[in-house]
Symmetry: C2
Subunit: 219 residues, 2 copies
């Protein structure tokens, strides 16, 4: 799997609070072995990783984080077990309730290119949160409007072919796992060009025994 990236040199990802929290659930009694194998095979170069019983924190550049989480989820799903994964990506506020960055800080623009396909189909519910606090939208002179920013990210998903409809509180994405995760990261980074603090959550399902189409029919 490879990702190309265009990125300014400063500030550092750590200063911008770039990172992820990842939970991968394997619905199989052999889940410990499957998860450890997936973690063992993933490329953690350049990343700070710490795990507790709830989720794994992954800190580093956008490109490294995306590569790692894609590899871990793909590794678990390659077992053919039903896998549910929860990914949080955040940027623009390193801490929990403290944030030293100005809401109008100019964050570097970052773009991720489509990753190599994994061969694993993923279905996802995606939510995106631009946390504007009313700071003026940079570079375009627009009023803060989190729903407009979300709409722009959904348009991006349509252009990448992963968009599969809207659901309550989420956008449905379907496609190769790498394409779905690239869409999520791209939408997050798109909004991050004009809003300093942006988080996104995606819940992914792979190898589900029940495939339910977006029209609600179970097939």
């Amino acid at each position: 799997m490879s990702f190309a990236v265009t990125e300014a040199t400063t500030p550092t990802p750590a200063q911008l609070g770039v990172g992820a929290r990842l939970s991968v659930a394997v619905m199989d009694s052999d889940y410990v072995r499957i998860l450890l194998a997936a973690l063992d095979r993933a490329d953690a170069s350049g990343l700070e990783i710490s795990t507790d019983e709830i989720s794994t924190y992954v800190g580093g550049s956008e490109i490294d984080v995306l590569r790692y989480v894609t590899q871990v989820i793909a590794g678990a799903a390659s077992s053919s077990a039903h896998v549910s994964a929860q990914l949080l990506l955040s940027r623009g506020c390193p801490g929990e309730v403290t944030c030293d960055l100005s809401p109008t800080a100019a964050l570097p623009a970052v773009q991720v290119s489509p990753a190599a396909r994994t061969g694993i189909r993923a279905a996802a519910h995606w939510s995106l949160y631009p946390l504007t606090d009313g700071a003026p939208t940079r570079s375009e002179g627009l009023e803060p409007d989190h729903m407009r920013d979300i709409a722009a990210a959904v348009e991006l998903a349509r252009s990448t072919g992963t968009y599969a409809g809207s659901a309550h509180f989420a956008t449905r994405l379907d496609g190769d796992l790498a394409d779905v995760l690239s869409t999520v990261a791209s939408g997050w980074l798109l909004v991050g060009r004009t809003v300093a603090h942006v988080t996104t959550h995606v819940t992914l399902s792979m190898n589900s025994p029940t495939t339910v189409a977006t029209d609600g029919a179970i097939r």
Copy 2:
């Protein structure tokens, strides 16, 4: 399990877009039976429920939603299998990218009281998103500040005894599953008194074979 609620009569939860998305992952090869049994035992009165391969949408009043998701998660965890659950609560914007509610709309204040204990210990990572868009904070005349609102919810968690430290992008909560979920809902509704559109995400872990203390030591 029971919840008390204080709630104004209008607008309706559907008009306010009150609801949840829930994913419950059971790390056991018998997960289908365990999940179906949990769903079968939960009280879905007053709720609109629809499921696809990724998550279950639960629409209805705050009290009904909290009762149902607590019962479903407790039911799955009572199997003793390792269970990971992902819950999204949202209020103030029914749709995906459309929102007919004014960001300054006066939403009714809702309070949930502590629920009856489940006897199941849960560990959680909790994130809260007040989506202000710069609308004036109602009732207090304060400037929008999503980090201040999050800090108030964290203070609430400290007062309930579930607060267990801060983590990257999340607050750690520990305790009886009912107390943890009540804290999450209470913080969400606390912020919802002054910000119209508020969402919250929590990732819960139960019956983990690896108990990692908040100081990072594995025990």
